[in-house]
């Protein structure tokens, strides 16, 4: 059984083989789930965009398994692995993509725009950078309430660092010394735009000093490195050392969305170390270290596939949202809805 959101995580991931295996299994599940979404998209069964985390699973899983259920997490589009590690169920992910009325977003919002605020799992809005200050707000409120020892984590791409929202929020976290971990996946492109058109510094980690916060760089294709660096960053934040900026270098191994063939990606990346598939790298390491064997991995894989297929089959039988049953209001205060006077 995989660890779920109801079991304690965080602080337990130091034993190296266990952490690797745990993270690897989330990576594998996320990869397989992504592949299913891509297939459903190609079959015309998903409306709107499909966004994969291919190549970013190591970074995302390393973050997810370092969080506890008392923490706050605002993942972004490529964080399927982190979401699962933080406790999202496969069925809720499928429900959101398929617009099921039983999903956390009830068909109102879709695809990667999913979460459960009450579980500390914040559903992103599309506007890049906008979630960082929201995480700050949760942390700020918890501090006011005297809750300590928790952290808040959120993820952005290289492109999202160009938003004003990113800057205002990171600076705000620094001024308030909040336990924020901001993980930047520098995957060389923002949609089609290469990083040379996005920033001019050597590494985005160079920004940390300008906010007076800790900065960390890591090879995002290497699970071992991600576990170490992200683990350290989370531990620092948890220990009260203020915001942590983690910048991982890697390559997006898919299109921006599944509509995009990513033909603009410079071939040089694909053959470079950046272009390694983190899932393969992690698997090789696990086998080489004999932390488990190929047969066990095959079992995990087929278990995950079965779970995914079952989830899809189940969701396809679930009711679509009914416009006639829908309460057409954005207000929670019923007496203020016009016509309700």
């Amino acid at each position: 059984m995989l660890q779920t959101v109801s079991e304690p995580r965080g602080g337990q991931v130091e034993a190296v083989p266990e952490a690797h295996l745990l993270a690897y299994r989330f990576m594998l599940r996320a990869r397989l789930l992504d592949e299913k979404f891509a297939a459903l998209y190609r079959a015309g069964k998903i409306h709107g965009g499909v966004f994969l985390g291919r190549g970013q699973e190591a970074l995302s899983a390393a973050l997810g398994i370092n969080l506890t259920k008392s923490d706050v997490f605002a993942p972004l589009i490529r964080d399927g692995a982190g979401r699962l590690a933080f406790g999202e169920t496969i069925v809720d992910a499928v429900r959101t993509y398929m617009g099921s009325s039983l999903g956390p977003m009830r068909g109102r919002d879709g695809n990667v725009h999913r979460g459960n605020p009450q579980a500390g799992y914040l559903p992103m809005i599309s506007h890049l950078g906008a979630m960082v200050s929201v995480v700050n707000g949760v942390l700020f409120a918890r501090r006011m309430k005297g809750i300590t020892g928790i952290v808040g984590a959120t993820c952005l791409g290289d492109g999202a660092t160009s938003t004003g929202a990113f800057h205002e929020a990171l600076n705000q976290a620094a001024v308030e010394k909040l336990p924020l971990i901001l993980v930047v996946a520098d995957n060389q492109y923002a949609y089609s735009t290469p990083t040379s058109r996005q920033f001019a510094c050597e590494s985005l980690a160079d920004r940390a000093a300008g906010y007076g916060i800790a900065g960390h760089s890591v090879d995002g294709t290497d699970l071992t490195a991600c576990l170490k660096t992200v683990g350290m960053a989370v531990a620092s934040a948890r220990a009260g050392k203020g915001p942590q900026l983690v910048v991982a270098k890697l390559l997006r191994l898919c299109g921006h969305g599944e509509h995009d063939d990513a033909s603009y990606i410079d071939p040089k990346y694909k053959t470079s170390a950046l272009g390694r598939d983190c899932l393969k790298v992690a698997e090789e390491k696990i086998l080489q270290q004999k932390w488990t064997d190929a047969a066990q991995i095959a079992v995990w894989r087929s278990e995950a596939i079965r779970e995914i297929e079952e989830a899809v089959a189940q969701v396809q039988r679930e009711p679509a949202p009914d416009p006639f049953a829908e309460e057409w209001t954005a207000l929670s205060t019923k007496r203020l809805i016009e016509g309700n006077a």
Binding site: M105, N116, P123, V134, V138, L139, S332, T333
Partner: protein, 321 residues
């Protein structure tokens, strides 16, 4: 003792902070300094750690409030001027306003906007932004016109589970006075008959209510009985009270200080004519500011917005219809 509109806002915040530990205030210079307009005077001292200076980061200010609201708090955000809320616009309309609808978790934040024209304010310290916020689903937009409403509506705003845009008029801050704070009030969502009359209904809100009342006073000396409806909240907008008034008077003038395209006056007229067409016995009219930014020089400023005189003139035209 006499209290100003500004005192009422400060008192309402003190009251909210005192009664509800979930309330805090976050904004530029709101702490020890007490805010650019002194709307949070002494609050940082009286409520340590709960009235907090923010960096000049309107986007992050609102984002933080939303996060805190998710965590069960009831933050009040002070924008230094309404005009600067355009920088926090995205977080207000796309983050705060959509949260409940998307997640079923309510978002009880109050964003205070010191708004409206004052002489010498100029194009970036005078704007009336109720229209852009009221257009978005998920927001409550309040526009108190009296000291009493400034107090009771701000208290209610903080208590409401939805995000509230609280438009407090800078011109009224020190201009309006009352003897004491109210112990009860109309609920939000109800308009108020600020003056009774049977010849014409003037629908107004915020500072324009005061100008409309003055105009009505002048018209009374000419024998006209003008009814003035104070909308109090522009979203929700109390169509029933407006229609009941128009049913009595048969004539409608909608007055607003904001720009002429769209906005409260258009919405009021569209509702009355589509839902209560037969009630009117003359064409409804509207009076707004001119379609330019708000000018700096007092001469231009006074000509840019509706005034007692221009309201009176518009009213006479309808009355003589």
């Amino acid at each position: 003792m006499s209290l100003t509109y500004l005192d009422a806002i400060c008192e309402a915040q003190a009251h909210a902070l005192r009664d509800d530990p979930r309330v805090f205030i976050y904004g530029q210079d709101v702490g020890a300094f007490g805010g650019a307009f002194k709307a949070t005077k002494n609050l940082a001292k009286d409520f340590p750690g709960r009235v907090i200076d923010s960096p000049i980061s309107e986007d992050a200010m609102v984002g933080l409030a939303v996060g805190a609201a998710i965590e069960g708090m009831r933050p009040i955000i002070e924008m230094q001027f309404a005009d600067f809320s355009t920088v926090g616009f995205n977080q207000i309309v796309n983050q705060a306003a959509t949260l409940f609808w998307r997640t079923n978790i309510s978002c009880p934040i109050t964003v205070r906007l010191p708004f409206g024209g004052t002489s010498g304010g100029g194009p970036f310290h005078s704007q009336s932004l109720e229209t852009i916020y009221a257009h978005y689903p998920g927001l409550i937009v309040l526009t108190p016109a009296t000291v009493e409403d400034a107090y009771s509506m701000l208290l209610e705003a903080v208590a409401i589970d939805d995000p509230v845009i609280f438009c407090e008029h800078k011109f009224l801050y020190r201009h309006l006075k009352a003897e004491k704070l109210p112990s009860e009030a109309l609920p939000i969502g109800k308009a108020r008959i600020a003056r009774e009359g049977r010849d014409l209904t003037i629908v107004a809100y915020s500072a324009m209510v005061q100008d409309a009342l003055e105009a009505a006073g002048e018209l009374a000396t000419e024998g006209w009985e003008v009814e003035v409806v104070d909308l109090r909240s522009v979203k929700p907008l109390d169509t029933d009270t407006v229609m009941a008034s128009v049913a009595r008077t048969g004539k409608l003038l909608a007055v607003g200080e904001s720009w002429p395209w769209g906005g409260v006056t258009a919405e009021v007229i569209a509702r009355v004519t589509s839902e209560g067409y037969g009630l009117l016995d003359a064409p409804p009219q509207r009076l707004n500011a001119k379609d330019t930014p708000v000018p700096y020089h007092p001469n231009l400023w006074a000509a840019h917005r509706p005034t007692v005189r221009s309201i009176g003139a518009a009213a006479r035209k309808i009355l003589r219809h």
